[in-house]
């Protein structure tokens, strides 16, 4: 039974890793990523979406709230808390969705909290941007997770489709 307990104590997470090379310095990219007035310009996961409100209290323990609205008038409001803030280099924050999201103040969240790490790595005049979005909101689980996990899921999913 000991073996099994050990297995359960070192879980892997669902982890999404995205990389982009940005045509901007880390300073500029970081500012555009974190300033409400910039976020309102670029935050658009789907065409036709708008960001009526964006709030960022950019400091460790500070909170953010980004309210997105689709053309049908549905709200998708993301909220979270900053865990690490290193200007022009690195950000770590939690991510959750509000149940309703249509208000102007912080509302009740779904509670399916995840954790995001974004890194801005200088490459001459450009920036390598690396985003890691992890299913669970604990730093422990983020540090424990094996990056091979996503591959395992993909492989398995492919297998299931055969």
């Amino acid at each position: 039974m000991t073996t099994i307990n050990n297995e359960v104590q070192k879980p892997d997470d669902a982890t999404l890793i995205l990389r982009r090379v940005l045509n901007a310095t880390p300073e500029r990219a970081f500012k555009a990523w974190t300033s409400p007035e910039h976020i309102q310009q670029w935050m658009r996961p789907e065409p036709g979406m708008v960001v009526p409100l964006a709030r960022m209290d950019l400091r460790v323990g500070g909170k953010f709230r980004i309210q997105m609205k689709n053309p049908d008038g549905e709200y998708f409001t993301a909220v979270g808390e900053f865990r690490e803030v290193q200007p022009a280099e690195r950000l770590v924050y939690t991510w959750d969705w509000e149940k309703d999201g249509s208000g102007t103040e912080f509302g009740e969240v779904e509670g399916k909290t995840s954790l995001i790490t974004v890194e801005f790595l200088k490459m001459g005049h450009r920036t390598e941007f690396v985003m890691t979005h992890t299913r669970f909101a604990s730093v422990e689980s983020r540090d424990n997770h094996a990056k091979g996990w996503a591959t395992a899921v993909d492989n398995f999913a492919t297998f299931m489709e055969r």
Binding site: V8, P11, L18, A24, A32, R135
Partner: protein
């Protein structure tokens, strides 16, 4: 209906982190099997394979059916689908956002170079 909270997902991901268990799942994807048949391709004892099966069962990835003394095992793909759905949703969300973010940074740069030309 099972609520897929963090603990369940922890177990799913823990269960999938092992190559033997992934192979067992692959075998089960071909159809239900008894423990003896499952153990055959693996270079390990029946007891060791049984331990792996318990981990998979606890994660809800495998369902066991007792037919007298024979235990037959079948794949239960639900927890896996849950994790896959999470990844797919966020991949779509962030890729859409990052496309816009890149475009926006380009716009900022153009504005600034025009501004410089005006000086």
């Amino acid at each position: 209906m099972v609520e897929y909270g963090s603990k369940v997902l922890d177990r799913t991901f823990g269960a999938l982190a092992d190559p033997t268990r992934r192979r067992i799942l692959a075998q089960l994807a071909e159809g239900a099997e008894c423990v003896t048949n499952l153990a055959r391709p693996h270079a390990m004892s029946l007891a060791a394979v049984s331990k792996h099966l318990i981990v998979l069962e606890r994660a809800g990835l495998v369902k066991r059916r007792r037919d007298g003394r024979v235990h037959s095992l079948a794949l239960a793909a639900k927890p896996m689908q849950e994790a896959q759905a999470w990844l797919d949703r966020y991949r779509k969300f962030w890729e859409g956002n990052l496309d816009q973010f890149e475009k926006y940074l380009d716009q900022l740069r153009e504005k600034e170079s025009k501004h410089d030309d005006d000086k």
